[in-house]
């Protein structure tokens, strides 16, 4: 049986761990060609690579800062040379930083906005040249449930993710006529990232608030993402999918 992403050329930013890694693995299971970027965690990147290889996928792996324009150009350029183009870009790289406004210093703000907002802009812009030329492609921006409604979230994080929502809407509108779709996936608290770090009472609060009574798994969210980036999905663009357990 051929996979749902057979031969699809996918790039996931921040793919060395957490949801990014699960996205890479889910895509690979469906037959995709997978590339991912990471910033610092070489051991995690190596681990992701090994897991992808175990699925029969030989990933391309790039180290760099998503907020570095040259890095974005280099990654997309290398993939274009290697694969002839790019079908799927997932802007997943993010920063987890929990801090109240009283302690939110300018470098924190810049790092957050650079990673979560400037990064997606740079990578989208780099990838879209080829996608528009091919009149085919899709971008999936990974947001967060807290940008969909008022919940307690660090201000710079909420602002960056809400900004990403605006970027998604505007890009969807702007590149739709070229057959390129841009959507947003905003998961709730998962078994990776923040969900593993929060104090137990916070996780309990989340469970109590969520209609499904649980936190999510990166694996189930990644499974949902497969459809969103696949060729089966032809009519959704500018859409927001928020698997958050019914918060």
């Amino acid at each position: 049986m051929t996979g749902r992403l057979e031969g699809t050329r996918c790039l996931v930013t921040g793919g060395s761990r957490g949801l990014g890694r699960e996205l890479c693995l889910a895509f690979a299971r469906e037959g995709a060609r997978v590339a991912f970027t990471f910033r610092r965690r070489e051991a995690d990147a190596e681990d992701t690579t090994l897991r992808l290889r175990a699925l029969g996928c030989e990933p391309q792996c790039f180290q760099g800062d998503v907020a570095d324009g040259a890095h974005a150009q280099a990654v997309v350029g290398a993939l274009t040379r290697a694969w002839g183009g790019l079908d799927v870009l997932v802007n997943n790289a993010g920063v987890q930083h929990v801090v109240p406004l009283a302690l939110l210093e300018e470098p924190d703000w810049d790092l957050m906005l650079n990673t979560c907002l400037k990064g997606p802009y740079l990578f989208s812009r780099a990838a879209l040249r080829g996608m528009i030329r091919a009149r085919k492609g899709t971008i999936l921006n990974v947001g967060v449930f807290s940008s969909e409604r008022i919940v307690e979230a660090p201000a710079h994080y909420a602002a960056a993710k809400a900004g990403l929502r605006g970027l998604t809407d505007a890009l969807a509108r702007e590149v739709g006529r070229h057959g390129v779709r841009v959507n947003m996936l905003s998961p709730g608290l998962l078994d990776v990232g923040l969900g593993r770090m929060l104090m137990p009472h916070r996780v309990e609060e989340y469970r109590a608030q969520a209609a499904l009574g649980r936190t999510g798994t990166a694996e189930e969210v990644a499974r949902m993402a497969v459809f969103l980036v696949s060729d089966e999905n032809t009519f959704m663009t500018g859409a927001r999918v928020t698997p958050d357990g019914g918060l």
Binding site: H97, V99, M197, M199
Partner: protein
């Protein structure tokens, strides 16, 4: 005659019968408890040197939290129906399990009874039953404290630890004099692996004082135990017993050491009680007696003000005259620790302590810290900036930007960022006050499901037990003439 503060029931220091007692403030502002035994005459003892502090502290009402199960009917009246009885005000927050009568020391100040001839050891099955009773009563067993004797002398001690761990007890503490730990590195290593904590008695740095209080020179061994527990990541609570004129001037030095040693989580300062096999004969004039507020003031003097009595709040889980608690934030840059009360209202700290004897991550604590950060941020006070910086470093440790840490790592980082100082005042026959006893949350737990407040256990109930006493006493006359007559009528 002074001003009456309140009446209560106490005990005769000699025959331990219940006696009506009055607590009064004298002109010099001291507070005295007075009573008269028909057989042994008038007795009075100073409870405090500061009547205003005593009255204000006593006015704090603990959070009502009655035990779910009260196996003993109210029959003789407090304190003779412990188990708990239906009039008890607090559920067990600190279950104490006495697992052996054996001890390798014979400390002059010891406030329990031990027995080394015909040693008794609790069997593991009995402990399992105790855990089951506690689970039935409390839902979850957050903490268990093993004591003795010296618990490490129990031949199956490790099994107890494993049983507690397997039962999901979050915090296991072991009262110890540290001698065993100092000599037994593999034991300490194993404690670290099991996540057990040691409550280490530590009264003095001075060898002479050591001999007076503990009957032996133990400082070197205790420091060695501290080094080893640090090496193997075993959290330690230091338990110094404060005795006026003997070691109270050392409290600042002990606290400083506690702040500096990373594995020391708490200091629980006890005030001397003249009960138990040592305490009853130690210091016959009882001139070493020291009240809670005196300890607080000695702390302020000997720490040069980085910890004062205003930094302490009562525990909402116990009688306010039994537990005073201060939490301190450590400065990673080496400055003096910052008591929580310097950046949050005392009421907020008090509220955060409502659920447990120890501060745990909670919504209330998070909100209090968030409020504190906002307040510090808008403040012009010179200390605010340093405190905010400390909190920022703490947040950085809880949510590091360059990596994902596990919840357990985050909890550890949070724990290691602060320390607690408890002043815990036990009662002996002289100071016995049933009002305090009725709000006790530290109970000695038995396999029949009874839980007896520790002071009642040490002063009264342990004497009934052949396991600990060469000549166990029955206690008919203890409950006092009046109640005895009533008993006769009932019979």
């Amino acid at each position: 005659m002074g001003a009456l503060l309140h009446p209560t029931t106490s005990l005769c220091r000699t025959c331990k019968r219940a006696l009506p007692a009055l607590v009064e403030a004298r002109e010099d502002r001291s507070v005295w408890l007075s009573k008269s035994c028909p057989e042994h005459g008038a007795q009075s003892v100073r409870l405090s040197t500061d009547a205003a502090w005593y009255a204000a502290t006593r006015a704090v009402k603990p959070v009502a939290s009655a035990p779910r199960r009260t196996p003993r009917p109210v029959h003789f009246g407090c304190p003779f129906d412990c188990g708990a009885c239906a009039q008890h005000g607090q559920k067990v927050r600190l279950p104490v399990v006495t697992i052996t009568s054996a001890c390798n020391l014979d400390c002059p100040i010891c406030y329990v009874y031990n027995k080394n001839d015909g040693t008794w050891h609790m069997d593991v099955a009995a402990f399992r039953r105790i855990l089951q009773h506690l689970k039935d009563d409390l839902g979850e067993v957050d903490i268990v404290n093993f004591t003795g004797g010296e618990p490490f002398l129990h031949p199956e001690f490790m099994t107890f630890l494993e049983v507690a761990r397997d039962a999901g007890v979050h915090r296991v503490t072991i009262c110890s004099n540290g001698l065993f730990l100092a000599k037994n590195e593999p034991l300490v290593k194993r404690l670290g692996e099991l996540g057990a904590r040691v409550a280490l008695s530590f009264d003095t740095f001075d060898p002479q004082t050591d001999v007076v209080l503990q009957g032996s020179r133990l400082v070197e061994a205790k420091l060695r135990a501290l080094d080893l527990t640090e090496k193997y990541n075993v959290d330690v609570t230091l338990i110094p017993v404060m005795t006026k004129g003997m070691n109270d001037h050392e409290v600042g030095a002990i606290l400083r050491m506690a702040m500096e040693r990373p594995n020391v989580r708490h200091v629980e300062l006890h005030t001397i009680t003249y009960t138990g096999q040592g305490g009853t004969h130690f210091d016959p004039s009882r001139s070493g007696r020291i009240s809670m507020v005196e300890v607080l003031d000695r702390i302020a003097e000997t720490t040069h003000g980085w910890l004062t009595r205003e930094d302490f709040v009562s525990s909402p889980c116990a009688h306010p005259l039994c537990y005073q608690i201060a939490y301190l934030l450590l400065d990673p840059d080496g400055g003096p620790p910052v008591p929580f009360t310097r950046f949050m209202p005392r009421e907020a700290l008090y509220a955060c302590l409502a659920e447990r004897l120890y501060l745990e991550p909670s919504r209330a604590l998070e909100d209090a810290l968030q409020d504190a950060m906002d307040r510090l941020w808008v403040s012009d006070e010179p200390e605010a900036e340093r405190t905010l910086k400390i909190l920022r470093q703490l947040l950085g440790a809880l949510f590091p930007r360059d990596r994902v840490i596990t919840r357990e790592e985050a909890l550890r980082a949070a724990e290691r960022a602060s320390k607690a100082v408890y002043v815990h005042s036990h009662m002996d026959e002289d100071t016995f006050d049933v009002e305090r006893l009725a709000q006790c949350c530290d109970s000695n737990c038995a396999e029949d499901g009874t839980t007896i407040p520790v002071c009642a256990y040490n002063v009264l109930y342990k004497e009934k037990e052949a396991e600990f006493m060469a000549a166990p006493r029955s206690w008919g006359e203890r409950s006092g003439d009046v109640k005895l007559r009533r008993l006769a009528v009932l019979a």
